[in-house]
Amino acid sequence: MQAEEIKSENLKCSSTTATPFFKKNGLFIVENSDFFKKLKFFNKSLSKEDFNLIYISKSQNSGGYTLEVEKIVKKKSKHLIYFKENKPPQGSANIMAITATYCFLKINNLDQVEVFIN
């Protein structure tokens, strides 16, 4: 088992207030029927050559949440991806919209995936 580095151009994490994007959340990969719908939601020019995995977290009542990839571990043919969602600071002021965090990733030789969210 070994940790795998991911280049910055192969990773894009952000948050959105667009509810259709995160109405269905969780993990999406190329073979998933919703993958391309999610991939092209913000940018119609994106293709599977740019990203081949999307993770969308569950929605929150405000902004201020961030999602990051803690680590990716290759275990035989399976990629173990560890995400960390950061809450806004206690007592902070945030945008008053339903939001969800998400990450687009490109992982070479992607076969099986297991995702962990902290």
Binding site: S14, S15, T16, T17, A18, T19, P20, F21, F22, K23, K24, N25, G26, L27, F28, I29, E31, N32, F41, F42, N43, K44, K58, S59, Q60, N61, S62, G63, G64, Y65, T66, P88, P89, G91, S92, A93, N94, I95, M96, A97, I98, T99, A100, L110, D111, Q112, V113, E114, V115, F116, I117, N118
Partner: protein, 775 residues
Amino acid sequence: MNSISKILAILSLPLLLNACGGGGGGSGGAAGYTVPSCTDSGTDYQTNEYYTIGSNSGQTSNQLSLVCASSAYARGATGDGIKIAVMDSGGPWDASGSLSNNEFNSTASDIVKPSNSDYVNSDSVPNDDNGHGSGVGCLIRCDKGDGDMHGIAYNSIVSWYKIINSAGTVSVNDATLASAFNAADSNDIINNSWGTGSVNGCSSEANCQSYIGTNTLAAMKTATGTNGKILVWAAGNSGLSNPSPQANAVVHSSELQGLSVTVVAINATNGDGSGAKDGKIWSSSNRCGTAADYCIAAPGADITYVGRENGQTFYIGSGTSMAAPLVSGGLAIIKQEFSSLTNAQVVSRLFTTALDTGEYSQSSIYGHGLMNLNAATAAVGDLRLLGGGNLLDDPNATYYNLANNSFSSSAAFSNALNLVLKDQTMEIYDSFDGANFKTDLSSFFTSGSYTSQNTIENHMLRLEPKTTKKVKNKNLYGSFTVETDGDYIESSMFQSAGDFLALGFNQSTNSFENAVDPLSNFFNDSNFGNNYLVNPYFNTGSGQDYFMSFNSNSAFGFDTFTNANGNDLGLAFNLNPLSSSNEGMKNAGDLQIVFGANYEQNKFLNSTSTGAFATGDLSNTNFTGVKYKKNLGDEFTFVGSGFAGYTYIDKAAGSYIDSSTPLLTSSFTLGLAKANFIKEDQRIGFFINQPQRVEDGNLNLRVPTSSDRDRTVTYSNLNVDLEPDARQINFDIVFNKTITESSNLSANLTHVQNGDHSNSSNSQNFFSLFYKKTF
């Protein structure tokens, strides 16, 4: 406590988590209430852009129709020129400062990035790296006319102040945030779709301040209390019973009250057809709670807007974040529509006109209710006219209810007045708050008309041979004569012994009018501009005029005149230098020279007015006239008369009829009649007549046309040249034949040129035939 969720995905069998939806909670509106709706009446504005999220979707969104925005648009209220600050994550620019969203292209000057407005990165390009600020701004003023959605106040001016980072958190310190507020203070309305929404209100000003920050709260209070700006706050999305501390501070800080608006969110119908759609409180919205007096509801769940990316990408989002900009835009609409309102009055009108029945009557949830832009841009109280003052709030100001203001103009100048009044507007004011409404100035005016009396009935009456029953009684003091026509008295007269005194009704005392044989016995004068020998200044047309005449032999005399209302008082001297009744003058004809004066109370030239258009107690007309009649042989009679006068309009205090020059008026008649026309029992007459007309004179209308937020009213002068653009001339041929003692035939051919002294009038031609047989 950290929890770990584990998601396993195998390429051919992905396992997905489903979204939990809005989160939060709390109960919605209570069961049993009906959900009312406002009347969205601006059908011309209910376009695809108003409803849809793009031509490809074919799906509708009702965030604008729920608050009846189209009704406001139809009244011209679009937020034009009103400045709104969006304190948020930035606006529709890329990092280089170029606009990066097609929805904000139409009027670049209305999309503002103020200097140093990026408080997160300390630069002048508040580019949006979160997307929230652009979406909020879009809900306010996304372009109209480009085929997709538009903002609620699509002509407003929006400036962005970036205080929120890419994660959606306010990332500037208290002092910097206060600086941002101070800068945003240059706008009219400051939208805040952020806050500490997970905190259930605050219990005191100090408690609120502990969440908001000392400097920030001070800046908020300066914005409202000192500078009178409006703050709009999203209540928060935690389903709590009270709004966030930022939105709840208004309860505890008097400086915020009246100018800080808290907004809760209701369910709308979104573009993909999902959502609760019921118009009730969105389950995740914080409620108005203790801030109910300062709180209002607007659509916030399942709202359509445009994201930050170029290419018109439409999003559907939920949050009080979305409800707040709709209210900010609504306030801009009200503010633009009523230039006389202070910001506090704009907020008061927003609250007062909210839909507050049924479901929305629950003030702890909805505060004042659901925003209703139809009602907010309509009259709340009675509309009324300001009686000449310049200050709307002057306790001594005179106001007239709308229905109590009128001006009924004489046909002598109504044509000229109408031409000037066309397309002129003036202001009237709502008794609720002095909100200024535009109305057509002409709506207060009605035109006198000579030609409108050219009816079949009047022509028939005119031709009907006089069947006056005359009752005459003579005693020691004189004679009493009563003439009746049908069931009413046509005229009556007391003629003193020696002809010294005559008292009469409807000019019956003036012997001249009664002595135009062979005419007077076979047709009646009418009021449609054909009063041949009548003194027009002593004729109100009411049919109820009274005279008292004193005659000193046939050489001179004088008439006094009044009418049934007692608001006319006239005196005329009549000189009769020629009289066919005098020995030696039989061939000279009858000549009467008249001069005199008439005084009219609250009217002039029979033009009556009330309220703000009233005239003074004593308008005066000095006139002169000449009448001449001569029998040419036994069969022809020539008649002629002409009158001219100067009218001086008495100004009433505060009246919109501000000043005038003397009005010169004229009228004349020429006629020739022949008895024994072809046959002995036939008569014919030909007349040319010009009804009374203003020949010269001006009237200045001074009407309120604008008002400012300092509650002062500006008047504009409208100088009206009262001389009509044409001259009405009537051509009359009248024929009468006595068939038997009990039967009579009359005919009349009338041609009216330039009716009512207007060159735009079509010529009128009338032919009347009247046969009467008495059984």
